[in-house]
């Protein structure tokens, strides 16, 4: 720090702050650069792995390997790195399950092309996202939708939602969790219209 150590009675622990910063950076990177690619990733996995039930686990493996690598150094841009990891994980799985994919090793070319395209305007993305979100909400079971709308749009507390819907707080929690799980699945699958 400065050249006057006698004044620093309260010294911060730089290692701790450093670690926290790194974790925060990792989170920011994961949320802002990796998660937006999830639809594209799932699309890639779908076209290269037949059992739909495995896809979420494969995605988890990919995220884990990506995360381990990012702890060393955060890859920028995320996209080519993510798809390389995805390809490697798929190849591992093919080996483990002794599957020989009919079309050969998953094709990365079509995805590599996409990385060089200019991204659409961010505001357009935001508008799009809202449209998708509203469409996804419409597809939730009515009680789930009601709960999440009361919470996130109307800003009601869990207690108020319980009163409004004449159900217990525990059930409100259940509806909110179900709604979130369905929304995450829909977003991931990209099948929100």
């Amino acid at each position: 720090m400065g050249d006057t150590p006698q004044t620093s009675e309260r010294s911060n622990d730089p290692r701790q702050t450093g670690a926290a910063t790194v974790m925060h950076e990792l989170r920011t990177w994961f949320v802002s650069e990796v998660l937006p690619l999830e639809q594209a990733l799932m699309h890639y996995l779908q076209s290269n792995w037949r059992r739909a039930d495995d896809l979420a686990d494969i995605r988890q493996d990919i995220y884990l390997r990506l995360f381990e690598a990012a702890k060393e150094r955060i890859p920028h841009p995320a996209r080519p790195f993510l798809f390389t990891v995805a390809r490697n994980i798929l190849i591992d799985r093919y080996r483990r399950e002794r599957i020989i994919p009919i079309d050969g090793v998953p094709d990365l070319e079509s995805f590599a092309v996409a990385t060089t395209e200019p991204g659409p305007d961010r505001r357009a993305i935001a508008r799009d996202e809202l449209r998708h979100l509203q469409a996804a909400l419409d597809r939730l079971p009515p009680r789930c939708r009601e709960a999440i709308v009361l919470r996130q749009v109307e800003g009601l507390s869990r207690k108020e939602i319980a009163q409004r819907m004449a159900i217990s707080e525990k059930t409100v929690n259940r509806h909110l969790c179900d709604a979130m799980n369905l929304l995450l699945d829909m977003k991931s699958a990209g099948d929100a219209p």
């Binding site: 720090m1 400065g2 050249d3 006057t4 004044t7 620093s8 009675e9 309260r10 010294s11 911060n12 702050t17 926290a20 910063t21 925060h24 989170r27 920011t28 994961f30 949320v31 998660l35 979420a56 686990d57 995605r59 988890q60 995220y63 884990l64 995360f67 381990e68 305007d121 961010r122 505001r123 935001a126 996202e129 809202l130 979100l133 509203q134 909400l137 999440i148 709308v149 919470r151 996130q152 749009v153 109307e154 800003g155 507390s157 869990r158 207690k159 409100v172 929690n173 909110l176 969790c177 979130m180 799980n181 929304l183 995450l184 977003k187």
Partner: protein, 325 residues
């Protein structure tokens, strides 16, 4: 670390459960937080799934902010102290000069706006009838448009701390240098600097959108502890520990808190609050560091520290205090 294999589906469900409880459980306690922290530390897939779940939750909160304005159920008018009225004429003239750029960036107001200001060293609290509160720091000018169907504030210059009562029908929006901060039920601090705007989120959730006139707008969703710095074409977000955030809000009690701050930084901060300016030209002196709490308007306290702790000289002349070796 996990002995039983965890399917992604189970992990997601657990993560969603945590995220939803964390955001909606009013009885959420330190023990709950500890249990969550333990779960997150158990396996990296927990952490990643939790980040993903929170991101999903945060995205649904955008619905509230983006929702079109709706007629309010209660009419809200500004209930601030009456004695400001006298100062408004003078302030309007000042605003016309310094606020022109920021003004042009937000939609033409259909409602009458009110302008409030503080002079150097002044600290003022505006209490709005919706229960929201704005604390203005030294040398600050803001225009508030709190009326039917809208709650907007333009921070023309300076710094303010906002404690906002959430109303999903009327998001509270702060404009600063063309950037837009949308509150989602929040306590936050905004400082309008010459080339950037700093937003520190203390509680709740807020969204920052950069200058909407720029080629490509950027936006960031802030969580407690996040400090966003928005410039003309970027936003960077860093995390600050709660202690630092509260130090940076010490002005609310009329104090300045420094934790290993360079004397140059201390002087610059102090100069925001006082007409009498501290001047340091010697780079060696400027680099000395200080730990302590000082009354924002008390030059003597800083001068005494400089003299007693560092053995420096302080000379007062022409409204300036020059500190040197």
């Amino acid at each position: 670390m996990s002995s039983t294999p965890q399917t992604a589906r189970n992990v997601q469900h657990a993560a969603v459960e945590w995220a939803v409880r964390r955001h909606t459980d009013e009885t959420w306690s330190d023990a709950d937080q500890q249990a969550l922290d333990l779960w997150l530390a158990e396996a990296p897939e927990h952490l990643l799934a939790y980040w993903r779940a929170e991101d999903g939750w945060g995205r649904t909160e955008l619905l509230g902010a983006l929702r079109p304005f709706r007629a309010p159920s209660v009419r809200i008018s500004d209930q601030g102290p009456r004695n400001w009225a006298r100062r408004i004429a003078a302030v309007v003239a000042l605003t016309a000069l310094s606020g022109a750029a920021a003004y042009a960036l937000h939609e033409a107001p259909s409602q009458p706006e009110k302008t409030y200001s503080t002079v150097v060293g002044e600290h003022k609290t505006l209490a709005l009838s919706d229960g929201s509160q704005i604390e203005m720091n030294t040398d600050t000018v803001l225009r508030a448009n709190i009326a039917r169907g809208k709650r907007q504030v333009v921070l023309v210059k300076g710094e303010a701390y906002f404690q906002i009562k959430h109303d999903s029908a009327r998001p509270f929006i702060v404009f600063a240098n063309g950037h837009r901060i949308t509150d989602l039920g929040t306590k936050f601090r905004v400082r309008n600097r010459p080339n950037s705007v700093e937003v520190a989120l203390v509680e709740g959730l807020a969204r920052v959108d950069t200058n909407s006139n720029a080629q490509s707008g950027h936006s960031a969703l802030l969580k407690p502890g996040d400090v966003a710095v928005a410039t003309a074409n970027s936003i960077s977000v860093t995390k600050k520990p709660a202690a630092i955030l509260s130090h940076e809000l010490a002005w609310r009690q009329g104090n300045l808190i420094f934790d290993n701050a360079a004397l140059a930084e201390v002087a610059a901060e102090f100069n925001r609050y006082n007409r009498q300016q501290i001047v340091i030209t010697d780079p060696k002196v400027a680099r000395l560091t200080i730990v302590g709490t000082f009354p924002a308007n008390d030059a003597e306290a800083i001068i005494n520290t400089a003299r007693e702790v560092f053995g420096l000289k302080a000379e007062q002349a022409n409204g300036r205090i020059t500190i040197s070796r």
